[in-house]
Symmetry: C2
Subunit: 250 residues, 2 copies
Amino acid sequence: MTSSPKPLAQPISITANTLKVACSQCNLRELCLPLGLNEQEMHKLDDLVGTRRRVKRGTHLYRATDPFEAIYAIRSGFFKTGVIAEDGREQVTGFQMAGEIMGMDGIGTEHHTCNAVALEDSEVCPIPFAKLEDMSREIGTLQHHFHKVMSREIVREHGVMVLLGTMRAEERLAAFLLNLSQRFSSRGYAPNEFHLRMTRDEIGSYLGLKLETVSRTFSRFQEDGLVSVQQKHVRIVDPAGLKKLMSRNC
Amino acid sequence: MTSSPKPLAQPISITANTLKVACSQCNLRELCLPLGLNEQEMHKLDDLVGTRRRVKRGTHLYRATDPFEAIYAIRSGFFKTGVIAEDGREQVTGFQMAGEIMGMDGIGTEHHTCNAVALEDSEVCPIPFAKLEDMSREIGTLQHHFHKVMSREIVREHGVMVLLGTMRAEERLAAFLLNLSQRFSSRGYAPNEFHLRMTRDEIGSYLGLKLETVSRTFSRFQEDGLVSVQQKHVRIVDPAGLKKLMSRNC
DNA sequence: CGCCAACTTGATGGCTGTCAAGTCAGGTGG
DNA sequence: CCACCTGACTTGACAGCCATCAAGTTGGCG
């Protein structure tokens, strides 16, 4: 990564509560929407992305039925997204971390269909969708990369369907932990030691299990020397053991 | 829906084994990708869509790991898509019918990640993806509608996650039948009487149940006067009863 | 007509949900 | 500083739903 002085792009000016973002300066650019853009294209993207927005822990970034106007790149923090069925049951559909994109569920209906809640104090970069489409028509690389992002979301959900449709509780939790591990790892964090931002209940909702089952399974993993768990702090002791758990029998 | 769609008349030129398709002539155009295009734009789309391809029952339209080149609009017939986990377990991720788009899972990796199998003799319209992106940069309406199609696929999968994550066997099957009913209905077929193209095993895989459970649940529905089932022929006797089943307790 | 895959039905068992009680951690206020 | 309070978590006992195993039946097709 060459740290070239930017000729005309705005520097990251900091005002009271708002921060102007520059994708071209962001250390997540290799993970996020700008992936694959050249310098010039990335500077165009800088103009597209709106003012960074803070989302305090426990508050909504958007709610189902909100009018859809933008998708959001996570600059920092941690989110959950979920849907609420007609009869009130909640299903967590995903946990999102830095560099990931949220809100694409709203394109089809012009309204969001999920709730997005920050699980810790976070910052997102809103990307006005109409503008993104405009710019996608100019920059093929951006267009194609956005399509990839949506496609990967579809594929991710296939993975969740496999998990919910075919796996037993132990396998689900093992898959969940390994997935988190991999994602922390690719963000430069320790792969085998992390802090869970979500509650047992939220994990359970995501995995199609009750919170008691999640808790019990954590305990069993600990007895078996696979992980070390203390409340929200998790250390993966035997990653290979967890992997083996997932491909067992059946 | 303005005009009542009739089951698949084909006003198009027919050669030996290949049929040149015209979106502008297709009676599925109000359901499929051309939605929202004006006459002129639709004629451009005619050039984009490739020669119609027949897929015989039981054969693959594409397989996981196949290089990704096109998405497919279903002209007629019925498909299932599914993924196979590392350890061999299969999960059916969806059933697709006329007017629906398949293959978007392949965009992200340049390779398909699903298997698509025809459940009856079918015809698809291949849409070369690179060309679709090119044309999307020219026609904003097409671009936007394609984004909607992808978004709706994400939302559909959220629905499956709710089903797999929170519903009991009866609720899952009721949701499944009502969903089929609604989709047949919007294609001009009887909403309450149809032929299942898939086996009990495939239904079970989709719903996260074993085939015996699917069969038993069908039998219970029949005893309760909700449906009339004879092998693959299904008649929904009490749609309201099925709906009530889904929003009960919990 | 006969074969085979798909389906139905029964008996049994196990995984996970449910209900309940108790523990832990963190934050607040006296 | 400590007591207390609340939400999150853990653990136990039990039950129920669904998977598993096992026959038997049906229907389509060569």
